[in-house]
């Protein structure tokens, strides 16, 4: 069953690349933040699957919880910071 989780982990890791492309070539700042949010969520899921791959679920689940918290706080801070600026964030 571990090989099935290896396939799932590779699939989730490949799914982290389209949001990374959006982060690199986003037309606006908000596109980049949306891409960063999606990359972070996929990273949380990848950590949860990696716990099943290495059979160390107790450690990787805690890491995933911390990543989810940091991702949420970072995205909220970036959104609140960009909300105050006018027009300069679009170009």
């Amino acid at each position: 069953m571990t090989s099935a989780f290896v396939v799932i982990a590779i699939f989730v890791a490949v799914l982290m690349f389209p949001p990374l492309y959006r982060v690199v070539t986003g037309p606006t700042v908000f596109d980049r933040i949306v891409g960063a949010s999606l990359t972070g969520t996929n990273g949380v899921l990848l950590l949860a699957v990696l716990g099943f791959v290495y059979e160390r679920i107790d450690m990787f689940v805690d890491l995933a919880i911390v990543y989810a918290l940091l991702n949420f706080v970072g995205i909220i801070a970036a959104g609140k910071y960009l909300e105050r600026r006018r027009r300069s964030a679009i170009k």
């Binding site: 949306v34 969520t41 899921l45 995205i75 959104g79």
Partner: protein
């Protein structure tokens, strides 16, 4: 046995919806459309995947932590996307429109279509 079957179905469905979300973020034309793909499809995919992993693991403390991550993502992922879309709207980013000959065919802001066509939507659908 039925537990593993349900877990496999949940995990495969979750991977499908994650793929839909990652496709949407490179195919869709606008921040607002992309935040739609991220908030809905990605949240459903994450919930299905984490629920499938918790089902596969069985009744234990780590499954409770997986369900905790599931609830946390279900609460925070649409919230974060909403904050980004609201910041984009408040800093004056206009929604994407599809035009042909000066007529707006499709917009993510539906009031623009009604304004450009005089509020008469029925004739345009028949034509």
């Amino acid at each position: 046995m039925i537990q593993f079957l349900l877990a496999a179905i949940f995990i495969l469905g979750g991977l499908f919806f994650l793929a839909v979300g990652s496709t949407g973020i490179i195919r869709l034309p606008d921040v607002y459309c992309r935040s739609h793909a991220v908030s809905k499809s990605e949240t459903l995919g994450s919930m299905l995947l984490l629920g499938g992993l918790a089902l596969y693991h069985g009744f234990e403390i780590n499954s409770a932590k997986l369900v905790l991550i599931l609830l946390f993502i279900a609460l925070t992922n649409p919230t974060a996307t909403h904050v980004i879309a609201r910041a984009a709207a408040r800093s004056g980013l206009q929604p994407w429109v599809q035009e042909r000959n000066g007529e707006i065919l499709w917009s993510s802001n539906s009031t623009e279509i009604e304004q450009s066509q005089g509020g008469d939507m029925v004739e345009d659908k028949e034509a």
